[in-house]
C-alpha cells in the first residue's frame, strides 16, 4: 500500500481569506437531510464534546462514546493555565497574524501554515462561544475579560479562569453536550471503550466497542467516525496525563490504515512536582503561569547540602535569566525543560532526591504582597503543599519537567480527515497544528477550534455525497471479523497467565521510553530502546498476569489492552526520533545542537511531516512525507535570548 500520496487538500488562495472562501466552496448538507446521517464521536474532552454538541445542534444524529463514567471526566479538565485568542482586548499589538506567527514559530516551523492560520482566525469565536455558555473567565473590575501573558508570548492574549481554565471550558462543552443528550439528539455511551474502526467499501463505516461494565463487544455503524481521543504521553508511564489516557483509539485506527504523524514530537512540561518515590503513579503539573512570577534557580555548587534559605544570592544561579535575558523565566517549554534537566544532570539538583530546581516566589511576595500572590496562584500553592508538605510561601517550590502533551498523532488533511476516508481526528489525537512544540494555552484553543468551528463544516463536505446511502450493516463480515479480533485479544490477555502485572510492564516500558526518547534523544539511545522495547514486548505477551474475567468491570484487563498498544507506539516513537536527524521543538537530538546547546533544525532535509504507515506487526512501518512550505513565516532559528 505504499502508493499513498499525502494530499493535505489545502486549497489555493490567499492565506487570509482561504478558510472563508473554502467554507463557501465546500458542499453543504441541507438542514432537512442532516438527520439522515449518523456520526460517531469517540471521546468527550474539549474536542469531542464540542464536536458532538455542535453536530447535534446542526441536526446530525450523533453517538458519543466515553470510557469514563461521565463525559465530564475527560482529561481536558485538568488544563490549568488558559486559552489563547487574538482578541487584542489589551491593545498591545496582537492580531490574527501575530498569533499565527507565534504559533508557527513556537512550533519550531514544523506545522502546516494554512491550518495554523485558520486556528488563529477562529480563536476569537471560541472566546465568544465560551463566554456565552457561561464559562466564568477571569474579569477585570470593569466587568470586561482579563488576559495574561503566557509561556513565551510577548502579548497578553491568554484568557483564563483561575487555575482551572480547562475545567471550565470542558464543563461548557460538556453542558452543551448534555443538552443534546437530554433532547435526544446525542446517544451517550459511557464506560464504553473504542477498540476498532471498521471499513466497508474503503470508507469508515463504524466502530467496535467494549462495554467496560459488562465486557460486551458491540458494533456501531455510522456515515462518519470522529476520533477525539487525546494524546499518548502515558507511553512514558509517568506523565502529567490522567491514568486512563491512552493511544489505543488512534493506534487501532493506525493499524487499519490511518497514517500516524510525527510520533516523536512529545512535549515535556517544565513546571511539574518532582517525583518523591518509586511508587509514584503520575506527576502533577503546576501551571506554567507560575513562571510569570517565580524565578528558577539552582545552587552554583553541585551537591550543595544547604537548604534554600541558607544559600546566599551570590551562590544561586538563575540560569534561565542568565542565558535568556529577554525572555528570562518565560522561555518556551522545550527550552526551559532542557535547561532544568541540564542543571539536574550536572549534579545541581535540589530536594531530597536532588531531582529538581527551585522555583522561587520570595521576590514576588516581597514586590506584590502575599495577598496578590495568593490571589494569582493560591490554588496551585495549596496543591503543592498538599502533595509535598512544603509551604511555597515560605520556601521555594521544587520543579522538574514531565511529559505532558504530544504534538504527534493521526495525520489529517485540511479537513481533519485521516487517510481512511470518513475517519476524522480532532484535538490532541491528530498531529495537530502545534508543529514540533506547543506553546502554552494553545491546546485548549486547538481542541475547541476543531470541535466547534472546523470539523462541523468540513465533515459536511465529506457527507454530502453520501446522501441517502444506507448505513453499513453491523452484520457485515468486516464488523464480525473486527468483533472476533477484539474478543480474542482480550481473552488472550486473560489466558496468558504469567507472573507480571500490567502496571509492571507499563512502568518498565516507561523507563525505556523516558531514558531514551524523552527530553534528549541520541542515536545510540534510540537504537538501544529499539532493541529493548521488542524484547520487553515479547515478555509482555508471554508473562502477563491479568486476573478476573472479561464479563464485568476489570480495570487490569482494560489497561492490558492500552499497554499493548503503547508498546507498539513506543517503537514507532523511537523509529521516528531516529529518522529525524535534526532537533526541533520537543524533539532534541544531542547530535544536532548549536554551540550553545540550542536545538539545531535542518530545514533543508527535514521540513516535512513524517507520516507512518502500518505494514503489519512484523514489518517496519513505512515513512511517507508531507513537505511543509513556509510562505508567510520566515524560517529562522528560534532565539529567545
Amino acid at each position: 500500500m505504499s502508493d499513498i500520496t499525502l494530499d493535505a487538500k489545502v486549497p489555493d488562495g490567499d492565506i487570509q481569506t482561504l478558510w472563508d472562501e473554502h467554507k463557501f466552496n465546500m458542499k453543504l448538507v441541507n438542514p432537512a437531510n442532516k438527520r439522515k446521517y449518523e456520526i460517531i464521536v469517540v471521546g468527550t474532552g474539549l474536542a469531542g464534546a464540542s464536536a458532538a454538541a455542535t453536530l447535534a445542534q446542526l441536526g446530525y444524529n450523533v453517538s458519543a462514546f466515553t470510557f469514563h463514567d461521565s463525559p465530564r471526566r475527560a482529561h481536558s479538565i485538568a488544563a490549568q493555565g488558559g486559552i489563547n485568542a487574538a482578541k487584542n482586548y489589551h491593545g498591545d499589538g496582537d492580531s490574527v497574524h501575530r498569533l499565527f506567527y507565534d504559533t508557527v514559530k513556537g512550533g519550531d516551523f514544523r506545522s502546516r501554515e494554512a491550518n495554523v492560520y485558520r486556528l488563529a482566525q477562529v480563536s476569537n469565536s471560541i472566546i465568544d462561544q465560551c463566554a456565552a455558555q457561561g464559562v466564568p473567565f477571569a474579569r477585570e473590575y470593569g466587568g470586561l475579560l482579563d488576559n495574561r501573558s503566557f509561556g513565551g508570548a510577548q502579548v497578553s492574549r491568554t484568557f483564563y479562569a483561575r487555575g482551572q481554565t480547562g475545567q471550565q471550558l470542558l464543563l461548557g462543552a460538556y453542558q452543551a453536550l448534555a443538552e443534546q443528550v437530554g433532547l435526544g439528539k446525542v446517544k451517550l455511551y459511557n464506560r464504553c471503550e473504542f477498540l476498532d474502526v471498521v471499513q466497508v467499501d474503503g470508507r469508515a463505516a463504524g466502530i467496535v466497542t467494549r462495554d467496560l461494565l459488562t465486557g460486551e463487544v458491540q458494533s456501531h455503524a455510522a456515515h462518519a467516525v470522529v476520533l477525539a481521543t487525546g494524546g499518548y504521553s502515558n507511553a512514558f508511564f509517568l506523565s502529567t496525563n490522567a491514568m486512563a489516557c491512552n493511544v489505543s483509539a488512534a493506534w487501532r485506527a493506525h493499524r487499519r490504515g490511518a497514517l500516524f504523524a510525527n510520533p516523536c514530537y512529545t512535549q515535556i512540561h517544565p513546571t511539574c512536582i518532582p517525583s518523591s518515590d518509586e511508587f509514584q503513579s503520575k506527576l502533577t503539573l503546576m501551571s506554567e503561569s507560575l513562571r510569570n512570577d517565580g524565578r528558577v534557580w539552582v545552587p552554583t555548587k553541585a551537591g550543595d547540602p544547604r537548604g534554600p534559605d541558607q544559600i546566599p544570592e551570590s551562590e544561586r544561579d538563575y540560569f534561565l535569566e542568565r542565558k535568556y535575558p529577554s525572555f528570562g523565566n518565560l522561555v518556551p517549554r522545550d527550552v526551559a525543560s532542557r535547561n532544568i534537566k541540564a542543571q539536574v544532570d550536572s549534579g545541581k539538583g535540589v530536594g531530597p532526591l536532588r531531582n529538581g530546581a527551585y522555583l522561587d516566589f520570595a521576590e514576588s511576595i516581597k514586590r506584590l504582597s502575599p495577598q496578590v500572590v495568593e490571589e494569582r496562584y493560591g490554588n496551585l500553592f495549596d496543591m503543592y503543599e498538599r502533595i509535598t508538605d512544603e509551604n511555597p510561601y515560605k520556601q521555594p517550590m521544587r520543579i522538574f519537567p514531565a511529559p505532558h502533551y504530544t504534538m504527534g498523532g493521526l495525520w489529517v488533511d485540511y479537513h481533519l480527515e485521516t487517510t481512511i476516508p470518513g475517519l476524522y481526528a480532532i484535538g490532541e489525537a491528530n498531529f495537530a497544528d502545534q508543529g514540533a512544540n506547543r506553546l502554552g494555552a494553545s491546546a485548549l484553543m486547538q481542541g475547541l477550534a476543531d470541535g466547534y468551528f472546523i470539523l462541523p463544516y468540513t465533515i459536511g463536505d465529506g457527507l454530502a455525497p453520501l446522501l441517502n446511502k444506507p448505513l453499513a450493516d453491523t452484520n457485515h463480515p468486516a464488523f464480525k471479523a473486527a468483533e472476533a479480533e477484539v474478543t480474542d485479544r482480550y481473552r488472550g490477555y486473560l489466558a496468558t497467565n504469567g507472573t507480571r502485572s500490567v502496571d509492571w510492564f507499563h512502568r518498565e516500558l516507561g523507563h525505556i521510553v523516558w531514558d531514551n526518547c524523552g527530553m534528549e534523544r541520541s542515536r545510540p539511545g534510540l537504537e538501544k530502546a529499539l532493541s529493548e522495547i521488542p524484547a520487553l514486548y515479547q515478555e509482555f505477551k508471554t508473562d502477563l498476569r491479568v486476573l478476573g474475567d472479561d464479563r464485568s468491570l476489570n480495570q487490569s484487563l482494560e489497561r492490558a489492552g492500552r499497554v499493548d498498544d503503547f508498546f507498539q507506539l513506543a517503537e514507532l516513537m523511537c523509529r521516528d526520533a531516529l529518522e529525524r536527524e535534526e532537533s526541533c521543538g520537543g524533539h532534541f537530538r544531542v547530535e544536532h545542537q548549536t554551540e550553545e546547546g540550542e536545538a539545531l533544525r535542518d530545514d533543508e532535509n527535514f521540513a516535512y511531516v513524517a507520516a507512518w504507515e502500518w505494514t503489519g506487526p512484523d514489518t517496519p512501518a513505512e515513512l511517507h512525507k508531507e513537505h511543509l512550505d513556509f510562505k508567510h513565516v520566515h524560517l529562522a532559528q528560534r532565539s529567545y535570548k
Partner: protein, 258 residues
Amino acid sequence: MAQATTPAPSSTHTRGPVTGTARDANRKRAPFLIEFYRSAVGKKYVMAITGIMIMGFVFAHMVGNVKMYLGPAEFDTYAEFLRQILVPIFPRTLFLWLLRLGLITAFVLHIHAAYGLTVINHKARPVKYASKRDYVAANYASRTMRWSGIIVGLFIVFHLFDLSWTGTGFHYYRGAAYENVAHSLERPLVALIYIVANLALGLHLFHGAWSIFQSLGWNNPRFNKWRRGFAIAFAGLITVVNVSFPIMVQAGVVGHVG
C-alpha cells in the same frame, strides 16, 4: 487463573445509551400549592413556614408561662386575657380558637411534611453504610430531629390532656390554670417528663431555627453569621425558661396555692 473473591456475574447484558432524558417543560401541572408541596423543596418551605408559626406560639407560650412567677392572680388574668382577645369584634374565645385552628394546621402540616421527607430520604439510601460514619458538620440536634420531634409531639398530647382537657390524675379544675400547673408539676415524674420534653424541644429548635433560613432561601452574607447565633439564643431562651417551671415547682419556689 486465580479465584475471584466472589463469583462474578456470568451473563452479559446490554447497556443502552443514554438519550432523550430531558423533562417535558410543557407537561401539565397541578395547581401551584399542590405541585409545590409535592416537591421536597416545597415540603421544606412548609416545614419552615409552619416552623415559624410554631416558634411564634412557643415563644408566646413561654412569655405567658413567666406569669407563673407573678402569682396566681396575674397568671389567671393572663389566661382570661387570651380568651378576650379582639372582644368585642369577635365573641369571647373566637380569636383564640382561630389561633388554635391555625396552630393545629401548622402542626399537622409540619408533621406530614416531615413524614414525607423521611420517606424520601430513606428511599434515597436503602443500603446504609456498613462502617461507622464520622460526622463533621451534622450535629446531634440535626441528626435527631425525627426523634426530638416525636418526643415533643407525644409530649404535646400529654400536655394537652394534663393541663387543658382532663388533668392526669390530680384534682383538675377547669379554668384554674395556675393551680393545675402547680398540682401537676408537684409530682416528680411529671416534672421530669416536662424537663426531658423541653430539652428535646430545645434541640429541635436549635436545628430548626437555623434551618429555616436555608429552607426559605434567606441567605445573605451580611447576616449569615447571625443565623446560628439566633438559633442558639432562641432555643436556649425557650429551654431555660420552660425547664425552670418544673424545677421551681419542685423546689417549692412557686406553686404554693394557699
